[in-house]
Amino acid sequence: MGVNSLSVQWRAVGKRVRGVSHVQSGKPCQDAVDWWEQEGVAALVVADGHGSDRSPRSDVGAAFAVDVALNALRSLHANSDLALANLRALKHLADEQLPRLLVRDWRDRVLAHHAATVATTPTTLPEGAEGAVPTDPAGPADEPVSGLGVPAASADARRPCADAAQEPDLTPGMRLSSNPAGLRSFALPTVPGCVAEGRVRLPPNRSSSAPPPAPEAGDVLVQRMRLSGSFALPTVPGCVAEGRVRLPPNRSSSASPPAPEAGGVLVQGMRLSGSFALPTVPGCVAEGRVRLPPNRSSSGSPPAPEAGDVLVQYGSTLLTVLAGPEVLLFLQLGDGDILVVADDGTVTRPMPEDSRLMANETTSLCTVDAWREIRVALYPLVEGAPALILLATDGYANSFVSEQDFLRVGPDYLQAIREEGLAAVASRLDEWLADASTQGSGDDITLGIVARSDVAEGAQHGLKEGAPS
């Protein structure tokens, strides 16, 4: 395929442009792109937020998708040997763990953002200025991941931001709130430090026959260090409580949160995930949110959207590459294109085709069981490394007359980079992609390029000219 893999190092650049149709309609750029480079390894992620009116925060969702994917890939790089000898373990991680982690973390970020946004500005969408990565109340973008499948979280940022003035005290130490969107939050500030956060999702096509009961003091069995009643929601089969445990900064658990016990089943038909079985650490704070089923309200508050509806507001695709010296790892959810360009300009697609991705419909991070829809490809570089890897949102391919015309970008970018260097090409992306949107699809267009370092000759170390501001 290219040069010997043992000496391979990678460089990355990317650029997104706001589509002309988005300019005309006043919509922000709903694409996102970012990357990191470390010790010759590069990770690049592209996301395309849905343009539908049902997804008004998709620019935020796309930015979150990029963040969580880069964090997950950083964790993978830190904790795994990206080597041929480790291929089996990498494949297991990529197939079984990474998709779940990406979807879970994205959903956590979205729900936290939504809770904070609704609590503070119920009718105003977050600012999504062109080029800006939206503020993430769930934590900084470069927040470290403590290990694949165990993301760290910012307790402060993840706390619900309900207006305290709207929170009538029900029991000592317990607050119950209803914000304008009907999202009911309650907090049990027994002792600061340890935080459990979570959410309850009703299964699709189900609704509760009754509104959730108000939590009572006895519902919270702190002496057993386990949340119980606070998440004892309507008895709906399939209702799932999810969440994570965060220990106080100066404490550590002697072990991972214990696995759920049989006694963890709170109500009939309801499952409790292990992460809610808190370690026995004095002074935990348990926080949670309760979503009412559609068309139901409690104490006159308006009905809250189901979690699935919230996720749709932030819906986004996801394309990633992790380029190591001996292995390339690709993940893709939804439309868009990943192209691998060999030294002779030959273009291949590492992902199998998904015939469902047409007519402006796509699989998405916001759909049920999204992790199952993530396509994964692991490329052992046994025959050498390719020259380039291109990741693009669908607005790019849709701007060309045919597939053949689009695939020409592979050898053309390769030639341009060889002649002018990766930095020079990065500086031209703005013009080229804007031209494509104008002449072609009108859509937002994002292109990420990962180049073998010898191909990217002339590029400056740490290049970020093409990054969103």
Partner: protein, 231 residues
Amino acid sequence: MAKRPGGEMAARPLHFMWIADCSGSMGVDGKIQALNNGIREAIPHMREVARENPNADVLVRALKFSNGAQWHLAQPTLAEDFEWTDLAADGVTDMGKALTMVADQLKIPPMTDRALPPVLVLISDGQPTDDFGAGLKTLLDLPWGKKAVRMAIAIGEDADHEVLQRFINNPEVAPLQANNPEALVRQIKFISTAVLKAASSPPSQAAGVGPVANVPIPQPVAGPDDASDVW
């Protein structure tokens, strides 16, 4: 200095197909003439919508059906160049054959997967006389047949609403009713403008979590309460 990477660029094609009932009953009470007038009057509006979105190439075709079916305008024609030649009415209502012929054009190729969802407009005043179900199945079995924006206009009280609803295949969208020439013109104009506009810049959306239609269909504008219904 390197040239812009990639081959030829173009706006995305949007195929718009009139599927017109030309059976004998359409010759009664001026229905076919009202249909001709309606499409002709809609042309300037259609061109305007096409001009407003340079990122979509609106390509118009027309298929007529009575005894069998045939293309009335076979060549996909840019809205800017689209002219209407009058249809005449005679024969039976071979609607199933018409849908089969439409399906032939929605295969990939000649369609491409980069196209915008096509708009199919079925206009009829009666009941099919051939195997409508087979034609519909052929159409809906195709990815583009399934994803097409399918609209229908029922002319008069004798139109088979159940058949037209099956064609639309979306409980959220009902056939548009036209019981007089003015209403028919209004419905044709609605599809040529509001529906065409929606189809020419469809926002992306997650599959399976939204409404049935992959293109949001605007609500038709209610017309006057006509006491002059003639069909």
